[in-house]
Symmetry: C2
Subunit: 204 residues, 2 copies
Amino acid sequence: MMKSKVKEPTPTAIAVPKVALALVHYPIMDREKKVVATNITNFDIHDIARACTVYGVERYYLVHPIQEQQMFVDRVLDHWRVGQGAKFNPYRKTALEQVKPVKTLEEAMKDWGHPREKTLFIGTHARPVGGAREYSLAEIRERLKEPEMALFLIFGTGFGMTDEYMKSMDGVLESIRGAPPRDYRHLSVRSAVSIYLDRILGPW
Amino acid sequence: MMKSKVKEPTPTAIAVPKVALALVHYPIMDREKKVVATNITNFDIHDIARACTVYGVERYYLVHPIQEQQMFVDRVLDHWRVGQGAKFNPYRKTALEQVKPVKTLEEAMKDWGHPREKTLFIGTHARPVGGAREYSLAEIRERLKEPEMALFLIFGTGFGMTDEYMKSMDGVLESIRGAPPRDYRHLSVRSAVSIYLDRILGPW
């Protein structure tokens, strides 16, 4: 066989990044900046699970310290996974397969099982968070090209997670800005999750 | 004064495109492909109004032929615009200012008042629509740079608008594809609106 200067073809298929997502219900700020626990809502379970399934997110954790709230999630999941809902709408069953209620982010990370040192543990917020390292979306996309690097993306409810809580993460993502001149930034968390997943994992 | 070869500086500020949005509740397909009217939901009003406000959309129309359903929208709007809700959450009042219930798309276009010949009247769907002209997102963004060109973007509920209804529009937007290998495409309409607005109007 003739030797050739032509190099081996570079693999062009880009591996889909490994991503998990959490929706946090404590510690959350209310409109008066008091620290509260928010209620888990049915729409947050469904809409975010569906967006996660579209973008190939591996796990969606609903984080709440109170057992009754976790039991509410289990009742919803049972209905759609094995109850009447599974027959009524099989697409919904698929979307809810990766959903899991947990007490804390630590429990979620342990359940997911990806090594902490190979995970970007990143919060999101509508406004800059003082003292937290800010990541641009471009930077996150770049980091996810590193071998085995994964993303654990964390969203708040209510008026957002407390600054202290977010400062314990590796950093926070740049905010989604509103159109000029108003810069209105009050997206529902369901919309924010959808837009961030599209910007990080969408076919750009 | 000395004549110079230096040109006038080109204006760099890009005008924000003029956009209106409609959420259609009839004629809609149900899971068995029967044509139905769907109910207007509270979350569709709020989440989509908030996304519209973030991206500078001028009007958000809830399209339903039945008067009782329009009255439901009016009751929700009254609560947040002038009732208890306006005091409780002024951000929500801002988001709901541009929301309006209408009977048909024609009524919405008339209310908006932008000339039909300067409006791209575009539907959205999770799957390709046989017989409809498909627009890529890049093409829409390019067209919106034309002087006075505006976009009227139309979303369905349930399992989507009927093909006949969409064929009467100027075209349909390319679908949001799911991650390989599954290509799951069952986003909530709230998520789909958020992602499309970001792709068309976001700071890319």
